[in-house]
Symmetry: none
Subunit: 234 residues, 2 copies
Protein backbone atom coordinates (compact mmCIF):
# COMPACT_ATOMS: atom_id res chain seq x y z
CA UNK A 1 0.00 0.00 0.00
CA UNK A 2 1.52 3.28 -1.15
CA UNK A 3 1.79 6.13 1.29
CA UNK A 4 0.85 9.65 0.31
CA UNK A 5 3.22 12.46 1.14
CA UNK A 6 2.57 16.16 0.84
CA UNK A 7 5.65 18.22 -0.02
CA UNK A 8 5.33 21.89 0.83
CA UNK A 9 8.26 23.71 -0.74
CA UNK A 10 8.43 26.86 -2.83
CA UNK A 11 11.65 25.84 -4.55
CA UNK A 12 10.25 23.82 -7.43
CA UNK A 13 13.50 22.05 -8.21
CA UNK A 14 14.03 20.84 -4.69
CA UNK A 15 10.40 19.80 -4.45
CA UNK A 16 10.64 17.62 -7.56
CA UNK A 17 13.88 16.15 -6.33
CA UNK A 18 12.29 15.15 -3.06
CA UNK A 19 9.28 13.80 -4.92
CA UNK A 20 11.59 11.68 -7.03
CA UNK A 21 13.41 10.29 -4.04
CA UNK A 22 10.36 9.31 -2.03
CA UNK A 23 9.25 7.17 -4.96
CA UNK A 24 12.14 4.89 -4.00
CA UNK A 25 10.50 4.07 -0.70
CA UNK A 26 7.16 3.38 -2.37
CA UNK A 27 5.52 6.68 -1.63
CA UNK A 28 3.47 8.97 -3.84
CA UNK A 29 3.95 12.68 -3.35
CA UNK A 30 2.03 15.82 -4.19
CA UNK A 31 3.67 19.23 -4.22
CA UNK A 32 2.33 22.49 -2.85
CA UNK A 33 4.21 25.69 -3.57
CA UNK A 34 2.74 27.92 -0.92
CA UNK A 35 0.98 27.68 2.40
CA UNK A 36 -2.52 28.37 1.17
CA UNK A 37 -2.33 25.74 -1.50
CA UNK A 38 -0.82 23.33 1.02
CA UNK A 39 -3.65 23.76 3.47
CA UNK A 40 -6.27 23.21 0.79
CA UNK A 41 -4.55 20.06 -0.39
CA UNK A 42 -4.10 18.86 3.17
CA UNK A 43 -7.82 19.19 3.78
CA UNK A 44 -8.90 17.51 0.60
CA UNK A 45 -6.84 14.33 0.79
CA UNK A 46 -5.65 11.94 3.45
CA UNK A 47 -1.88 12.23 3.64
CA UNK A 48 0.41 10.00 5.63
CA UNK A 49 3.18 12.52 6.07
CA UNK A 50 3.99 16.16 5.36
CA UNK A 51 7.39 17.52 4.43
CA UNK A 52 7.26 21.21 5.16
CA UNK A 53 9.69 23.98 4.32
CA UNK A 54 9.57 26.57 7.04
CA UNK A 55 10.25 29.48 4.66
CA UNK A 56 7.18 29.86 2.51
CA UNK A 57 5.48 32.66 0.64
CA UNK A 58 1.96 33.70 1.72
CA UNK A 59 1.93 31.70 4.96
CA UNK A 60 5.01 30.65 6.89
CA UNK A 61 5.68 27.04 7.81
CA UNK A 62 5.14 27.54 11.52
CA UNK A 63 1.61 28.88 11.10
CA UNK A 64 0.83 26.24 8.52
CA UNK A 65 2.07 23.53 10.87
CA UNK A 66 -0.19 24.79 13.64
CA UNK A 67 -3.19 24.96 11.30
CA UNK A 68 -2.61 21.42 10.13
CA UNK A 69 -2.33 20.20 13.69
CA UNK A 70 -5.74 21.70 14.42
CA UNK A 71 -7.35 19.80 11.57
CA UNK A 72 -8.23 16.43 12.94
CA UNK A 73 -6.14 13.39 12.16
CA UNK A 74 -2.57 13.09 13.31
CA UNK A 75 -0.20 13.25 10.39
CA UNK A 76 3.54 13.34 11.01
CA UNK A 77 5.26 16.52 9.86
CA UNK A 78 8.94 16.81 8.98
CA UNK A 79 10.19 20.37 8.78
CA UNK A 80 12.89 21.64 6.49
CA UNK A 81 14.86 24.82 6.95
CA UNK A 82 17.92 26.62 5.70
CA UNK A 83 18.45 28.47 8.93
CA UNK A 84 20.60 26.50 11.29
CA UNK A 85 19.69 28.61 14.27
CA UNK A 86 18.78 26.56 17.25
CA UNK A 87 15.81 28.71 18.12
CA UNK A 88 14.06 27.77 14.90
CA UNK A 89 14.65 24.10 15.46
CA UNK A 90 13.11 24.30 18.86
CA UNK A 91 10.19 26.41 17.72
CA UNK A 92 9.54 23.98 14.90
CA UNK A 93 9.38 21.03 17.24
CA UNK A 94 7.41 22.93 19.86
CA UNK A 95 4.84 23.93 17.33
CA UNK A 96 4.02 20.37 16.45
CA UNK A 97 6.55 19.16 13.94
CA UNK A 98 7.72 15.63 14.52
CA UNK A 99 11.14 16.02 13.05
CA UNK A 100 13.39 18.69 11.71
CA UNK A 101 16.02 18.72 8.98
CA UNK A 102 18.45 21.50 8.16
CA UNK A 103 19.30 22.29 4.54
CA UNK A 104 21.39 21.14 2.93
CA UNK A 105 20.32 17.66 3.96
CA UNK A 106 21.14 14.34 2.39
CA UNK A 107 18.38 12.33 0.78
CA UNK A 108 19.34 9.10 2.54
CA UNK A 109 18.82 10.89 5.82
CA UNK A 110 15.48 12.35 4.73
CA UNK A 111 14.28 8.94 3.63
CA UNK A 112 15.51 7.37 6.86
CA UNK A 113 13.58 9.95 8.86
CA UNK A 114 10.44 9.43 6.81
CA UNK A 115 10.67 5.72 7.41
CA UNK A 116 11.27 6.29 11.11
CA UNK A 117 8.01 8.26 11.27
CA UNK A 118 6.08 5.54 9.48
CA UNK A 119 7.55 2.91 11.77
CA UNK A 120 6.36 4.79 14.82
CA UNK A 121 2.85 5.07 13.42
CA UNK A 122 2.78 1.39 12.56
CA UNK A 123 4.06 0.35 15.97
CA UNK A 124 1.52 2.46 17.80
CA UNK A 125 -1.57 2.00 15.73
CA UNK A 126 -1.10 -1.65 14.98
CA UNK A 127 -2.97 -2.85 17.99
CA UNK A 128 -6.51 -3.18 19.23
CA UNK A 129 -8.03 -3.43 15.78
CA UNK A 130 -8.59 -7.10 16.31
CA UNK A 131 -12.12 -7.62 17.43
CA UNK A 132 -12.27 -10.67 19.60
CA UNK A 133 -15.17 -12.48 18.13
CA UNK A 134 -16.30 -15.89 19.21
CA UNK A 135 -14.40 -18.79 17.75
CA UNK A 136 -15.43 -22.42 17.59
CA UNK A 137 -13.34 -25.28 16.50
CA UNK A 138 -13.77 -28.93 15.67
CA UNK A 139 -10.66 -30.63 14.34
CA UNK A 140 -9.24 -28.62 11.50
CA UNK A 141 -12.48 -26.71 11.08
CA UNK A 142 -12.77 -23.25 12.60
CA UNK A 143 -15.75 -20.96 12.78
CA UNK A 144 -15.59 -17.24 13.39
CA UNK A 145 -19.07 -16.21 14.46
CA UNK A 146 -18.66 -12.46 14.03
CA UNK A 147 -17.20 -12.72 10.58
CA UNK A 148 -19.32 -15.73 9.71
CA UNK A 149 -16.21 -17.33 8.35
CA UNK A 150 -15.40 -21.02 8.14
CA UNK A 151 -11.96 -22.37 7.43
CA UNK A 152 -10.61 -25.87 7.19
CA UNK A 153 -6.86 -26.00 7.55
CA UNK A 154 -6.83 -22.31 6.76
CA UNK A 155 -8.81 -22.69 3.56
CA UNK A 156 -12.00 -20.61 3.54
CA UNK A 157 -15.26 -22.44 2.92
CA UNK A 158 -18.26 -20.54 1.56
CA UNK A 159 -21.45 -21.47 3.37
CA UNK A 160 -24.96 -20.13 3.03
CA UNK A 161 -26.70 -18.65 6.03
CA UNK A 162 -28.61 -21.81 7.00
CA UNK A 163 -25.59 -24.00 6.44
CA UNK A 164 -23.56 -21.79 8.69
CA UNK A 165 -26.20 -21.69 11.42
CA UNK A 166 -26.62 -25.43 11.31
CA UNK A 167 -22.90 -26.14 11.46
CA UNK A 168 -22.51 -23.61 14.24
CA UNK A 169 -25.15 -25.39 16.26
CA UNK A 170 -23.19 -28.61 16.02
CA UNK A 171 -19.93 -26.84 16.82
CA UNK A 172 -21.54 -25.37 19.91
CA UNK A 173 -22.70 -28.78 21.12
CA UNK A 174 -19.86 -31.15 20.43
CA UNK A 175 -20.73 -34.83 20.42
CA UNK A 176 -24.36 -34.30 21.28
CA UNK A 177 -26.94 -36.15 19.18
CA UNK A 178 -29.94 -34.25 17.80
CA UNK A 179 -33.04 -35.51 16.04
CA UNK A 180 -34.10 -33.76 12.90
CA UNK A 181 -37.03 -32.07 14.55
CA UNK A 182 -34.82 -30.89 17.41
CA UNK A 183 -32.58 -29.28 14.83
CA UNK A 184 -35.55 -27.72 13.09
CA UNK A 185 -36.67 -26.25 16.39
CA UNK A 186 -33.24 -25.02 17.43
CA UNK A 187 -31.80 -23.82 14.16
CA UNK A 188 -34.88 -22.97 12.11
CA UNK A 189 -36.99 -21.84 15.02
CA UNK A 190 -39.91 -23.56 16.70
CA UNK A 191 -42.38 -21.80 14.45
CA UNK A 192 -41.00 -23.47 11.39
CA UNK A 193 -43.51 -25.78 9.74
CA UNK A 194 -41.66 -28.13 7.49
CA UNK A 195 -40.51 -31.61 6.88
CA UNK A 196 -37.68 -33.37 8.67
CA UNK A 197 -36.34 -34.09 5.25
CA UNK A 198 -35.22 -30.51 4.96
CA UNK A 199 -32.50 -31.21 7.45
CA UNK A 200 -31.15 -34.04 5.33
CA UNK A 201 -30.71 -31.81 2.36
CA UNK A 202 -28.79 -29.23 4.37
CA UNK A 203 -26.56 -31.81 5.98
CA UNK A 204 -25.98 -33.11 2.50
CA UNK A 205 -24.81 -29.87 1.08
CA UNK A 206 -22.77 -29.15 4.17
CA UNK A 207 -20.94 -32.44 3.76
CA UNK A 208 -20.24 -31.70 0.12
CA UNK A 209 -18.58 -28.51 1.22
CA UNK A 210 -16.71 -29.47 4.36
CA UNK A 211 -15.99 -33.17 4.12
CA UNK A 212 -12.96 -34.48 2.30
CA UNK A 213 -15.00 -37.59 1.44
CA UNK A 214 -18.71 -36.85 1.84
CA UNK A 215 -19.44 -40.57 1.83
CA UNK A 216 -17.34 -41.00 4.96
CA UNK A 217 -18.11 -37.88 6.92
CA UNK A 218 -15.89 -36.84 9.80
CA UNK A 219 -17.51 -33.62 10.92
CA UNK A 220 -21.22 -34.36 10.87
CA UNK A 221 -22.05 -37.98 11.57
CA UNK A 222 -25.31 -39.81 11.01
CA UNK A 223 -26.76 -41.58 14.02
CA UNK A 224 -28.97 -44.18 12.43
CA UNK A 225 -32.60 -44.05 13.43
CA UNK A 226 -32.02 -40.97 15.56
CA UNK A 227 -30.45 -38.01 13.83
CA UNK A 228 -27.04 -36.36 13.62
CA UNK A 229 -24.14 -35.40 15.78
CA UNK A 230 -20.84 -33.77 15.17
CA UNK A 231 -17.63 -35.72 15.22
CA UNK A 232 -14.26 -34.31 16.11
CA UNK A 233 -13.25 -33.98 12.48
CA UNK A 234 -10.19 -36.20 12.75
Amino acid sequence: MKKNILIVEDNADLASLVQLHVLDINCDADIAHDGGQALRMYQSKAYDLVILDIMLPVMDGISLCQKMRDKGAYVPIIMLTSKASELDRVVGLEVGADDYLTKPFSFPELLARIKAQFRTIEALTHKPTHQTSELFQMGYLRMDVGKRLVTIQGKAIALTAKEFDLLLYFAKHPGQVFTRSQLLDQVWGYQFEGYDHTVNTHINRLRLKIEADPAKPKYILTVWGVGYKCGDGI
Copy 2:
Protein backbone atom coordinates in the same frame (compact mmCIF):
# COMPACT_ATOMS: atom_id res chain seq x y z
CA MET B 1 2.05 11.82 35.55
CA LYS B 2 5.83 11.80 35.38
CA LYS B 3 7.47 10.11 32.45
CA ASN B 4 10.42 7.77 32.90
CA ILE B 5 13.42 8.17 30.67
CA LEU B 6 16.35 5.81 30.38
CA ILE B 7 19.64 7.55 29.59
CA VAL B 8 22.29 5.25 28.17
CA GLU B 9 25.57 7.15 28.15
CA ASP B 10 29.05 6.17 29.29
CA ASN B 11 30.15 9.72 29.90
CA ALA B 12 28.91 10.19 33.47
CA ASP B 13 29.05 13.99 33.37
CA LEU B 14 26.97 14.28 30.24
CA ALA B 15 24.52 11.70 31.57
CA SER B 16 23.92 13.66 34.76
CA LEU B 17 23.55 16.87 32.80
CA VAL B 18 20.88 15.33 30.63
CA GLN B 19 19.22 13.87 33.71
CA LEU B 20 19.12 17.32 35.24
CA HIS B 21 17.61 18.91 32.18
CA VAL B 22 14.82 16.41 31.66
CA LEU B 23 13.65 17.19 35.18
CA ASP B 24 12.55 20.55 33.76
CA ILE B 25 10.01 18.90 31.52
CA ASN B 26 8.67 16.80 34.38
CA CYS B 27 10.52 13.60 33.60
CA ASP B 28 12.41 11.20 35.83
CA ALA B 29 15.54 9.66 34.41
CA ASP B 30 17.69 6.63 35.19
CA ILE B 31 21.20 6.30 33.90
CA ALA B 32 22.88 3.22 32.43
CA HIS B 33 26.60 3.32 31.72
CA ASP B 34 26.91 0.43 29.36
CA GLY B 35 24.77 -1.62 27.00
CA GLY B 36 24.37 -4.66 29.22
CA GLN B 37 23.18 -2.63 32.15
CA ALA B 38 20.88 -0.67 29.85
CA LEU B 39 19.21 -3.79 28.54
CA ARG B 40 18.63 -5.15 32.04
CA MET B 41 17.12 -1.87 33.18
CA TYR B 42 15.04 -1.62 30.02
CA GLN B 43 13.55 -5.01 30.72
CA SER B 44 12.89 -4.41 34.39
CA LYS B 45 11.03 -1.12 34.17
CA ALA B 46 8.53 0.51 31.87
CA TYR B 47 10.27 3.48 30.30
CA ASP B 48 8.57 6.09 28.19
CA LEU B 49 11.65 7.03 26.22
CA VAL B 50 15.28 6.04 25.77
CA ILE B 51 18.15 8.39 25.10
CA LEU B 52 20.92 6.28 23.68
CA ASP B 53 24.55 7.12 22.99
CA ILE B 54 25.73 5.17 20.00
CA MET B 55 29.29 4.78 21.31
CA LEU B 56 29.10 2.48 24.27
CA PRO B 57 31.43 0.04 25.97
CA VAL B 58 30.45 -3.66 26.02
CA MET B 59 27.59 -3.39 23.50
CA ASP B 60 27.31 -0.67 20.90
CA GLY B 61 24.21 1.49 20.59
CA ILE B 62 23.09 0.00 17.30
CA SER B 63 22.94 -3.55 18.66
CA LEU B 64 21.30 -2.34 21.83
CA CYS B 65 18.70 -0.45 19.83
CA GLN B 66 17.86 -3.55 17.84
CA LYS B 67 17.60 -5.67 20.97
CA MET B 68 15.26 -3.17 22.58
CA ARG B 69 13.09 -3.06 19.47
CA ASP B 70 12.73 -6.83 19.60
CA LYS B 71 11.36 -6.68 23.13
CA GLY B 72 7.73 -6.02 22.35
CA ALA B 73 6.38 -2.71 23.58
CA TYR B 74 7.14 0.35 21.54
CA VAL B 75 9.35 2.88 23.32
CA PRO B 76 10.72 5.86 21.40
CA ILE B 77 14.50 5.95 21.14
CA ILE B 78 16.56 9.09 20.58
CA MET B 79 20.13 8.40 19.54
CA LEU B 80 23.12 10.53 20.39
CA THR B 81 26.43 10.47 18.61
CA SER B 82 29.63 12.40 18.26
CA LYS B 83 30.24 11.20 14.75
CA ALA B 84 28.53 13.50 12.33
CA SER B 85 28.87 11.14 9.43
CA GLU B 86 25.68 10.79 7.50
CA LEU B 87 25.99 7.03 7.28
CA ASP B 88 25.69 6.69 11.03
CA ARG B 89 22.65 8.88 11.13
CA VAL B 90 20.94 6.78 8.52
CA VAL B 91 21.99 3.51 10.14
CA GLY B 92 20.67 4.76 13.45
CA LEU B 93 17.28 5.58 12.02
CA GLU B 94 17.15 2.42 9.94
CA VAL B 95 17.89 0.33 12.95
CA GLY B 96 14.85 1.56 14.78
CA ALA B 97 15.77 4.86 16.40
CA ASP B 98 13.05 7.48 16.22
CA ASP B 99 15.32 10.46 16.26
CA TYR B 100 18.97 11.32 16.10
CA LEU B 101 21.06 14.09 17.62
CA THR B 102 24.69 14.91 16.91
CA LYS B 103 26.98 15.99 19.69
CA PRO B 104 27.43 18.69 20.63
CA PHE B 105 23.70 19.30 20.85
CA SER B 106 21.83 22.01 22.68
CA PHE B 107 19.60 21.05 25.58
CA PRO B 108 16.62 23.06 24.35
CA GLU B 109 16.74 21.02 21.18
CA LEU B 110 17.04 17.73 23.05
CA LEU B 111 14.07 18.66 25.21
CA ALA B 112 12.08 19.77 22.18
CA ARG B 113 12.74 16.45 20.50
CA ILE B 114 11.78 14.52 23.61
CA LYS B 115 8.54 16.44 23.79
CA ALA B 116 7.92 15.86 20.09
CA GLN B 117 8.20 12.12 20.71
CA PHE B 118 5.79 12.26 23.62
CA ARG B 119 3.36 14.32 21.60
CA THR B 120 3.33 11.73 18.85
CA ILE B 121 2.67 8.97 21.33
CA GLU B 122 -0.12 10.94 22.94
CA ALA B 123 -1.75 11.75 19.64
CA LEU B 124 -1.65 8.18 18.48
CA THR B 125 -2.43 6.23 21.61
CA HIS B 126 -4.89 8.51 23.31
CA LYS B 127 -8.28 7.38 22.24
CA PRO B 128 -9.81 9.46 19.47
CA THR B 129 -10.33 12.55 21.52
CA HIS B 130 -12.08 15.30 19.67
CA GLN B 131 -9.03 16.89 18.21
CA THR B 132 -6.91 13.96 17.21
CA SER B 133 -8.91 11.70 15.04
CA GLU B 134 -8.02 8.54 13.34
CA LEU B 135 -7.36 7.23 9.93
CA PHE B 136 -9.04 4.07 8.77
CA GLN B 137 -8.06 2.13 5.76
CA MET B 138 -9.40 -0.71 3.71
CA GLY B 139 -7.38 -1.44 0.62
CA TYR B 140 -6.97 1.73 -1.39
CA LEU B 141 -9.75 3.44 0.48
CA ARG B 142 -8.89 5.70 3.37
CA MET B 143 -11.08 7.56 5.77
CA ASP B 144 -9.97 10.54 7.78
CA VAL B 145 -12.51 10.83 10.54
CA GLY B 146 -11.57 14.34 11.62
CA LYS B 147 -11.75 15.76 8.15
CA ARG B 148 -14.65 13.46 7.23
CA LEU B 149 -12.73 12.75 4.11
CA VAL B 150 -12.65 9.66 1.96
CA THR B 151 -10.05 9.02 -0.69
CA ILE B 152 -9.49 6.10 -3.01
CA GLN B 153 -5.99 6.02 -4.45
CA GLY B 154 -5.66 9.66 -3.54
CA LYS B 155 -8.86 10.69 -5.29
CA ALA B 156 -11.35 12.36 -2.98
CA ILE B 157 -14.85 10.86 -2.84
CA ALA B 158 -17.77 13.04 -1.79
CA LEU B 159 -20.04 11.22 0.64
CA THR B 160 -23.11 12.41 2.46
CA ALA B 161 -23.27 12.24 6.25
CA LYS B 162 -25.07 8.90 6.46
CA GLU B 163 -22.95 7.37 3.75
CA PHE B 164 -19.84 8.38 5.62
CA ASP B 165 -21.08 7.08 8.96
CA LEU B 166 -22.12 3.81 7.45
CA LEU B 167 -18.83 3.30 5.65
CA LEU B 168 -16.93 4.27 8.76
CA TYR B 169 -18.76 1.67 10.77
CA PHE B 170 -17.62 -0.97 8.34
CA ALA B 171 -14.08 0.37 8.31
CA LYS B 172 -13.99 0.21 12.09
CA HIS B 173 -15.07 -3.43 12.14
CA PRO B 174 -13.16 -5.11 9.37
CA GLY B 175 -14.59 -8.39 8.19
CA GLN B 176 -17.39 -8.40 10.74
CA VAL B 177 -20.80 -9.28 9.36
CA PHE B 178 -23.76 -7.11 10.34
CA THR B 179 -27.46 -7.58 9.76
CA ARG B 180 -29.43 -4.66 8.45
CA SER B 181 -31.11 -4.06 11.77
CA GLN B 182 -27.78 -4.16 13.58
CA LEU B 183 -26.58 -1.45 11.22
CA LEU B 184 -29.74 0.56 11.81
CA ASP B 185 -29.15 0.29 15.55
CA GLN B 186 -25.45 1.09 15.39
CA VAL B 187 -25.32 3.71 12.68
CA TRP B 188 -28.78 5.25 12.78
CA GLY B 189 -29.34 4.78 16.50
CA TYR B 190 -31.56 2.29 18.26
CA GLN B 191 -34.42 4.76 18.42
CA PHE B 192 -34.65 4.81 14.65
CA GLU B 193 -37.93 3.38 13.48
CA GLY B 194 -37.50 2.42 9.90
CA TYR B 195 -37.27 -0.36 7.43
CA ASP B 196 -34.29 -2.59 6.84
CA HIS B 197 -34.74 -1.58 3.26
CA THR B 198 -33.21 1.76 4.05
CA VAL B 199 -29.85 0.14 4.53
CA ASN B 200 -29.99 -1.37 1.04
CA THR B 201 -30.45 2.00 -0.55
CA HIS B 202 -27.52 3.49 1.28
CA ILE B 203 -25.25 0.58 0.50
CA ASN B 204 -26.37 0.95 -3.06
CA ARG B 205 -25.40 4.59 -3.31
CA LEU B 206 -22.17 3.96 -1.45
CA ARG B 207 -21.23 1.31 -3.96
CA LEU B 208 -21.97 3.63 -6.85
CA LYS B 209 -19.50 6.06 -5.35
CA ILE B 210 -16.69 3.86 -4.08
CA GLU B 211 -16.73 0.71 -6.15
CA ALA B 212 -14.98 0.51 -9.49
CA ASP B 213 -17.65 -1.97 -10.58
CA PRO B 214 -20.71 -1.66 -8.32
CA ALA B 215 -21.98 -4.99 -9.61
CA LYS B 216 -18.88 -6.68 -8.22
CA PRO B 217 -18.25 -4.82 -5.01
CA LYS B 218 -14.92 -5.10 -3.27
CA TYR B 219 -15.38 -2.83 -0.31
CA ILE B 220 -18.85 -3.62 0.96
CA LEU B 221 -19.86 -7.19 0.38
CA THR B 222 -23.28 -8.75 0.65
CA VAL B 223 -23.54 -11.76 2.92
CA TRP B 224 -26.59 -13.52 1.61
CA GLY B 225 -29.33 -14.11 4.10
CA VAL B 226 -27.47 -12.19 6.77
CA GLY B 227 -26.43 -8.68 5.85
CA TYR B 228 -23.25 -6.92 4.85
CA LYS B 229 -19.58 -6.88 5.71
CA CYS B 230 -16.59 -5.00 4.46
CA GLY B 231 -14.04 -6.68 2.29
CA ASP B 232 -10.42 -5.67 2.12
CA GLY B 233 -10.98 -3.71 -1.06
CA ILE B 234 -8.48 -5.63 -3.13
